[in-house]
Amino acid sequence: MILTLLRPKALGFRNRWRKGGYTRQRGQDILIAAFCVGMLTATYSGTVWTLTKIKESPFLVHLPPSLPLGLLLLLLMGMLWISSLVTAISSFYFSDDLEIILSSPVKSRSVFGAKATYITLAVSWMPLVFILPVLIAFGRVYEASWWYYPYSVAVLLPYFTLPVAISISIAALLMAVIDPRWTKALGVFIFFMLLVGFYYVIDMTAGVLQSENKGDQVLRLVGLLSSADSVWSPAAWAGRSISEVLEPTGKSLFPRLSLLFCSTISAICLAYAMMELLHLRGYTRAKNSRVSGRVNTGVRPQRPWYLVGRPAIALAQKEFRGIFRDIAQSAQVLFLTCMCIMYMLNIRFFVAVDSFPAEARLWWQNLFFIVHCSVAAFFTTAICTRVVFSSISLEGRSYWILQTAPIPPKSVLKAKFWFWFIPVAIVSAIVFSLGAFVISGRVDFVAVHLASSICASYGIVGLGIGLGAYFADFNWEHPSQLALGLGSFLYMLGSALLVFLNIVPTWLMLMVTRGAPLTSDDLLSLRGLLMVLTTIAIAMVNALVAKTALENGEAALERAAR
C-alpha cells in the first residue's frame, strides 16, 4: 500500500522530468548533467586536496577524520532539520492529496509510511548527492577498504531518517497547538529576533576589539571543534561510526551503530504514535485556517516613494506578504535566521588566529578563511534557494493574475530581483565582512570582502530569480516541494560556485600580503595587479550571470504564456 501511495509522486516526478524537455532540449539537459558532474567532481577534488593538506602537516595539528566529517554532518543535519520540518508540515497538513487519501479506506500506518518515506527521500536526495563525493574522497585519502563505501551509505540511512522522524513529531505538536493564522506573529517574532541578534553581534564585535586575552578564544575554538564530535550529537554518532573505519582508534562500533539505529526506530515509532493521536486535530485546524483578509479596493494616494513605480511597490508588498502567508515558509525563514545569528554570535572563535605563532598564523588564517567562506556560502545559498529561487513558482496557481496584469514579465522579474537583492546583500555583507574582520582585523580586507559579497549577492539573486523563472513550477502541492527539485539543486550548485568565485580576490589578497596590511607596492606587483584585475573580472561575471539568467527566465515565462 505504501508503494501505491507513493506511485503518484513518482509518476509526477517522471512526467515533470519529461515535460521539462528531455526530448525537446536534449542539448540543454546534457549541459545541465555535465555541470552537475563537474561540480561534484570539484567537491571530490576539493575534499581530497583539503584532507591531504591536513594530513601533510602532522607537526602543526592533528585532526582526526571524525572532526571534519562530524562538522560537515552537523551542518547538513541543520539543513535536514529545516527541510524535514517544513516538508513534514506541508506534506501531512497542506498536501493536495490528503483529502482523497484520508477519505479512502487506507490504513493510517500506510499513510504515515508513505508520507514519511516521501519526506525522507525528498529532503535527503540533495544532501546525499553532496555528501557522496565527500565520503569517496575520505575513503581515498584514508585508503579505506572496499566495504567502507556501502557501509558509510548504510550509516547515512538512520542519519537522514532520524531528523525526519523527530520533525514529524514536532510538526504534529506544532499543528495541534499553534494556529496557522499566527504566521504574522511569527513574522514579528523573527523581526525582533533579528534586532536582538544584531545587538549581540555588535556587542560581540566591540568585545573582540577590546579583547586582550586571545588564549580563551583558542580554547573556545577547541570547544567548538569538539562539539562537532560531541557524544550527544546524532551527526557525531554517524561521523564517528564512519571515521572509526577510516582511522581506527580502538573504540567499539557496535554501541554507536546501535544508538543510531535504535534512536531512529524509537523516533519513527514515536512520530507514528503522535500522528495517530494528533493528526486529525491539526489537519482540521489547517483546513480552517483560511485567512479572511481585508480587501482594500481604494486607490492609494501618490507618495514620494512611489517614484520607483507603483507596480514595483505593489509586487514588493505582495512578495513581503507571501513570506508570512505560509507557516512552512515562515518556519524555514525563522530557522535560517536562528542559524545565521548563532553563527555570527560564535564567529568570535576566529579571533583565535591572533594568538597563533607567527609561522603558523598564515596556515590557520587560510584554514579559517576557507571554513568561514564555506559556512557563509552555505547560509547565502540556503537562504536564496528557499526564498529567492522559489519566488516565481510561489505565485502558484494565482500566477494568471500576474500574467493578465498590465505588467511585462521583465518588470515582474526586475521587481522581485530588487526586492530580494537588498536583504540578501545586507545579510551576506554582514556575515562575510564580520568573519573577515574577526579573522584578519584589517579594514582593507573587510572592504574587499564587503565589495565581493555585494557583487556575489547581485549574481546569486539574479541567478535565483532567472533560474526560478526558467524552472518555474506553478502546480505544486506545497511550497516546500520547490526547494527540493532539480532546478533548486542546480541553483544551489551554481550559487555555491559563484560564491567561491567571488572569494578569489579576497583570497588572493590574503596570499599577496601574507597577513600584512595592503601597501601600494603590493598593488603594483604582478600578483597585486592580478588581484585587481580578478576583482573587476569577478564583478563583471556576476553582472553577466544575473543578466543572462534574468533574460533566460523572462524568455521562459513568455514561452510559457504563449
Binding site: 602532522p58 607537526f59 602543526l60 595539528v61 592533528h62 582526526p64 493510517s108 500506518r109 586575552n213 588564549g215 583558542v218 580554547l219 575554538l221 577547541v222 571543534l225 557524544v231 582508534t249 580502538g250 573504540k251 567499539s252 557496535f254 554501541p255 554507536r256 546501535s258 544508538l259 535504535c262 534512536s263 526506530i265 524509537s266 523516533a267 519513527i268 515509532c269 514515536l270 507514528y272 504514535a273 495517530e276 493521536l277 583565535a352 594568538s355 597563533f356 605563532p357 603558523a360 590557520w364
Partner: protein, 245 residues
C-alpha cells in the same frame, strides 16, 4: 479496544523499547569515552616548585631534590618547562642528577614536541617526542655510559585539557593502561606505598642545601620490591603522586 488505540500503544511500546536499547548503548559510549582518554595532572598555571621527600623522612624538613614546573597556557605556543635536581646515592657514591625538560603544545593544546634531559655525572639521558599523531618517541644516552639510541612510535595525540581556570591536565589514549589496569583504590594504595612524597611548596621554603640528604637508590628499590607486580607496567612511574598535593 479500537484499532487506532492499539496502534498507538504498540508504537509507544516499540518506541520505548528502542529508546531503552539506545539509552543502554549511549551509556556504553559514555563509559568508553570516559575511559578512552585518561588524564595526568593536575597541572597548575604559573610556576610550581615540588620538593622531593623520602617518605621515611616525611615528618622532618629533609628533602633530596626539587622539581620546578613552569606552565603558561596563555602563550601561543603553550609550554611546560621542567627543571630540577635530585641527590641520589648508589653503592656509597653520591650522584647529583640534573633534570631539564620542555614540552611544547600547538595552539589547540596538542603536544607537538618535547625533550627531557636527565644528566648524571658525565652521562646524559634524553627522551624526546616529535609529531602529534603518531608520536615519535626517541630515547638516547650521551656521555661516558654505553650509547643507546631507540626510536619508536606511540599513539597520540597528548592533549592539554582545562579543568578550572588555573588547572589543566594532560589527556591521551596512551595513559589509558594506567586507569584500566588500576582501580582508584589501587592507585591510592600505591601512592601511599610509594617511598617518595612530592610536595608543592611555597617559594620561600625550597629544598635548601642545609635540608638536603642523598636518597639511596638501593633503599628505593628495596621498598618497591613487595609491590613489584604492580609495577610491571612501564608507565606506572608517570602516576600522579597523591601525597600531599
Amino acid at each position: 479496544m479500537s484499532y487506532r488505540l492499539v496502534n498507538v500503544i504498540l508504537a509507544t511500546l516499540l518506541s520505548a523499547l528502542a529508546a531503552v536499547i539506545a539509552y543502554a548503548s549511549f551509556k556504553v559510549i559514555l563509559e568508553e569515552e570516559k575511559g578512552y582518554t585518561s588524564t595526568l595532572g593536575p597541572l597548575q598555571r604559573g610556576n610550581v616548585t615540588y620538593r622531593l621527600v623520602p617518605r621515611s623522612l616525611a615528618m622532618t624538613r629533609k628533602c633530596f631534590g626539587e622539581l620546578n614546573v613552569a606552565f603558561n597556557p596563555d602563550l601561543s605556543d603553550k609550554q611546560i618547562a621542567v627543571s630540577g635536581f635530585m641527590r641520589l646515592s648508589y653503592r656509597g657514591a653520591e650522584l647529583t642528577t640534573d633534570i631539564r625538560g620542555e614540552a611544547n603544545f600547538n595552539p589547540i593544546g596538542q603536544l607537538g614536541g618535547s625533550l627531557l634531559s636527565i644528566k648524571m655525572n658525565n652521562t646524559e639521558m634524553q627522551v624526546g617526542t616529535r609529531n602529534i599523531n603518531p608520536i615519535t618517541l626517541s630515547l638516547r644516552t650521551l656521555g661516558d655510559a654505553a650509547k643507546y639510541n631507540f626510536r619508536f612510535a606511540i599513539p597520540g595525540p597528548i592533549e592539554l585539557r582545562r579543568h578550572t581556570k588555573d588547572t589543566y591536565s594532560l589527556a591521551s589514549p596512551l595513559f589509558r593502561p594506567l586507569t584500566s589496569t588500576l582501580t582508584a583504590a589501587d592507585q591510592s594504595k600505591l601512592a601511599g606505598a610509594f617511598p617518595l612524597l612530592v610536595n608543592d611548596i611555597p617559594r620561600t621554603s625550597r629544598c635548601d642545601p642545609s635540608d638536603q640528604v642523598a636518597y639511596s637508590v638501593e633503599s628505593f628499590m628495596a621498598s618497591m620490591s613487595p609491590g613489584a607486580s604492580i609495577f610491571n607496567n612501564p608507565l606506572v612511574g608517570l602516576l600522579p603522586n597523591r601525597g600531599n598535593q
